[in-house]
């Protein structure tokens, strides 16, 4: 069992506006996920869902370090990454409702969020499938000298796949500008990470590729932001690729109605206390940047606009049979 990092969030060198922005984006993701979970369990929403409650600091910390012209790849657990990269609640909710107005016209669904204008290729639901793809995106940036960076999100489970090792190695030998971001939430589905590797950390395994992998407190949005900033700067300066292991915890089920019986209770309780949103909130209040009431108001505002979006989603046009065979080829 890995204990949560105990360090306080160090916000001293940042302005209130920046910090409140991080807070708001994390709450946005949390409430989106909680709202979607309710709609799913209620039966309003089709399919299956993989959610990221508890991992918001990873998505927000990393995407805040990116420029709008940079790109991300994501996974089956992609709602948080998409929101952090700037996709709107509307386009994502509409997609989850299978609407023609969703970000993939209803054809993709929860596991394939996409917006090519906002720097997000379709999320890849095959574990580790995005790793070589991100290396290829970064190779394209390098060959075309665009100065862009690719950020590649995946989980601890992905480290066991061949695609991970092949992709990371090519990125390394060609020095391409990609930041690999492993959200180590300690479980691949129901399987604990200690059952799938002998090394103590994922980060240390990267040294075999000549990459300086670092383990970061993934529930500290500032720590994530700072590590991502350095990694992105390194990549832009031609010193890529970079690798970050963000230690975090999944507060919700792996998917659908999973009750997480495989997470030992003491571990779960300990980690739930180290909630990334609560931690930043406490730091904001202690520093006098916001009152508890003001933070509550942020949340309420987000909830209200989410509820409005749900109402809109329910009345969006669905695709018709004419859409069935479109988009197979470009």
């Amino acid at each position: 069992m890995t204990n949560p990092p105990q360090a306080k969030i160090d916000i001293d060198s940042y302005e209130a506006g920046f910090l409140l922005g991080l807070y708001e984006r994390m709450v946005q993701i949390r409430e989106f996920e909680e709202g979607v979970k309710f709609l799913f369990l209620e039966g309003t929403m089709p399919g299956t869902i993989h959610q990221c409650q508890g991992q918001e600091a990873c998505a927000v910390g990393v995407c805040t370090a990116l420029e709008p012209t940079d790109w991300i790849t994501s996974t089956f657990r992609g709602h948080g990454h998409a929101l952090a990269k700037g996709l709107s609640v509307d386009e994502m909710l509409f997609e989850l409702f299978g609407a023609a107005t969703g970000c993939a016209g209803g054809k993709g669904g929860s596991m394939h969020m996409v917006n090519m204008d906002k720097g997000m290729i379709p999320s890849i639901a095959i574990v580790a499938g995005g790793v070589p793809v991100a290396a290829g995106m970064a190779l394209a940036f390098k060959m075309q000298q665009t100065g862009q960076v690719a950020a590649c999100f995946f989980g601890d489970g992905a480290i066991a796949e061949g695609a991970f090792h092949e992709g990371v190695n090519m990125a390394a030998i060609w020095d391409v500008p990609v930041v690999f971001i492993c959200e180590n939430n300690q479980y691949g589905a129901s399987t604990h990470v200690s059952k799938v590797m002998r090394a103590a950390t994922i980060a240390e395994r990267l040294s075999s590729y000549g990459i300086d992998g670092r383990r970061i407190d993934g529930n500290d949005v500032i720590a994530v932001y700072e590590a991502a900033r350095r990694a992105v700067d390194d990549c832009r300066a031609g010193r890529g690729p970079a690798f970050l292991e963000l230690l975090t915890y999944r507060r919700t089920g792996h998917s659908r109605r999973d009750a997480c019986h495989y997470q030992p209770k003491p571990e779960r309780e300990q980690w739930l206390e180290y909630d990334p949103i609560v931690r930043l909130g406490q730091a904001l209040v202690e520093a006098g940047h916001a009152t508890t009431e003001e933070l509550d108001a942020v949340r309420k505002q987000i909830l209200t606009s989410f509820d409005d979006a749900v109402e809109r989603a329910k009345t969006q046009p669905q695709p018709t049979l004419a859409d069935l065979t479109t988009h197979v080829l470009a």
């Binding site: 399919g47 209803g106 669904g109 394939h112 066991a160 859409d323 065979t325």
Partner: protein
């Protein structure tokens, strides 16, 4: 040797679980390899098939990392050295990651060694569109039926699942078993909406079923409808409704996809003179194409009408329910094809 079971109605998931348990008890060389198949408090694989087996067989339920190419290769190696592994993927779509080990190694070792070695490997894969989008929905049967050295079967009832799993474990060749997410009858958090009842009364005692035989699910003289997995059930539903319209359809569950049981299918088509093949998956390059070609070759113009295929459009599987429903063949489309043929 434990061979008795109480005769009761069980789901496909329960039936497979029982069969795996009994085979593991019968033969200490049988073991399971797969993701999330042996975690206490976990799920027993993606669809509950191995639920609780880790308590009974702590050393032979091996929970793998997410590494399909790797653990399918491990399965091949263990099989070469005399073990009888059962490996599974959580979704059929991930067979693409394991494909090299299945096609280049498992299927070819016997032949390219001039018969010196054998690979008694059982592989299990759930297929079918169930609201999960393009990468968790494909029907993979088509990609494996043309691989010599591999036996490919599809189980659509709990009775078959038991007999076929047991036969596959005892077979000296690699056997790939396709299962359908909507037919498992998985319960609790792993239940599927839109599921179809594929449960059966399981008789007492041990039995195996042949790996190369289709099953006639319903007899009729007017038309032969061939399906497998979900479409075997849809074909039976269509046949029931067609009977109301005075059309007697013979329904065949192809069951064995490689080899295809042309003897059974052709005998039926000789009788009815008409063949409709129902396949979940794009029409182009499907199993249906192989069945149609094989029947045509064998029967020539002894069939009265040309063969029809009711299959999915040539598209990836769409997420949104309106499009996914149009993708998966349904009873009205099967009926329309049959009626058109019978009247035409």
């Amino acid at each position: 040797m434990t061979t008795t079971t109480t005769p009761k109605r069980v789901s496909i998931a329960e039936s497979l679980r029982g069969a795996i348990t009994e085979e593991m008890e019968r033969d200490p060389k049988v073991f399971c390899l797969g993701e999330d198949i042996a975690v206490p408090g976990g799920w027993g694989g993606a669809f509950t098939v191995t639920l609780g087996l880790e308590e009974r067989f702590p050393d032979r339920m091996i929970n793998t990392p997410i590494a399909e190419l790797g653990f399918f290769g491990v399965g091949v190696g263990a099989a070469l050295m005399g073990m009888r592994p059962i490996v599974d993927v959580q979704y059929g779509d991930f067979l693409f990651l394991a494909m090299d080990q299945i096609v280049n190694n498992a299927a070819k070792m016997c032949y390219m060694s001039g018969g010196q070695c054998k690979v008694p490997l059982v592989m299990r894969a759930p297929v079918g569109a169930t609201g999960r989008g393009s990468q968790h929905a494909q029907n993979l049967e088509r990609y494996f039926i043309g691989v010599p050295g591999l036996k490919v079967v599809a189980v659509s009832t709990a009775y078959d699942a038991r007999g076929i799993l047991k036969a596959a474990v005892r077979d000296d060749n690699p056997v790939l078993i396709f299962e359908h997410k909507l037919l498992y009858g998985s319960k609790g958090a792993r239940a599927e909406s839109g599921a179809i009842d594929a449960s059966s009364e399981i008789p007492e005692g041990d039995y195996v079923l042949p790996l190369d035989q289709a099953a006639i699910r319903r007899e009729g003289n007017d038309v032969t409808i061939v399906g497998w997995l979900l479409t075997a059930h849809l074909a039976q539903q269509a046949a029931d409704r067609l009977a109301d319209e005075g059309v007697q359809a013979e329904v065949i569950d192809a069951r064995s996809l490689s080899p295809i049981d042309f003897a059974t299918i052709c005998a039926s088509v000789e009788k009815t003179g008409r063949l409709v093949i129902v396949e979940e998956g794009p029409k182009t390059g499907g199993v249906g194409a192989e069945i149609a070609a094989g029947v045509t070759e064998r029967l020539g113009d002894r069939a009265r009408a040309s063969i029809r295929r009711v299959a999915s459009a040539d598209i990836p599987v769409p997420f949104t329910p309106v499009l996914e429903n149009a993708y998966v063949p349904d009873v009205p489309r099967i009926m329309a094809a049959v009626l058109d043929m019978v009247k035409g």
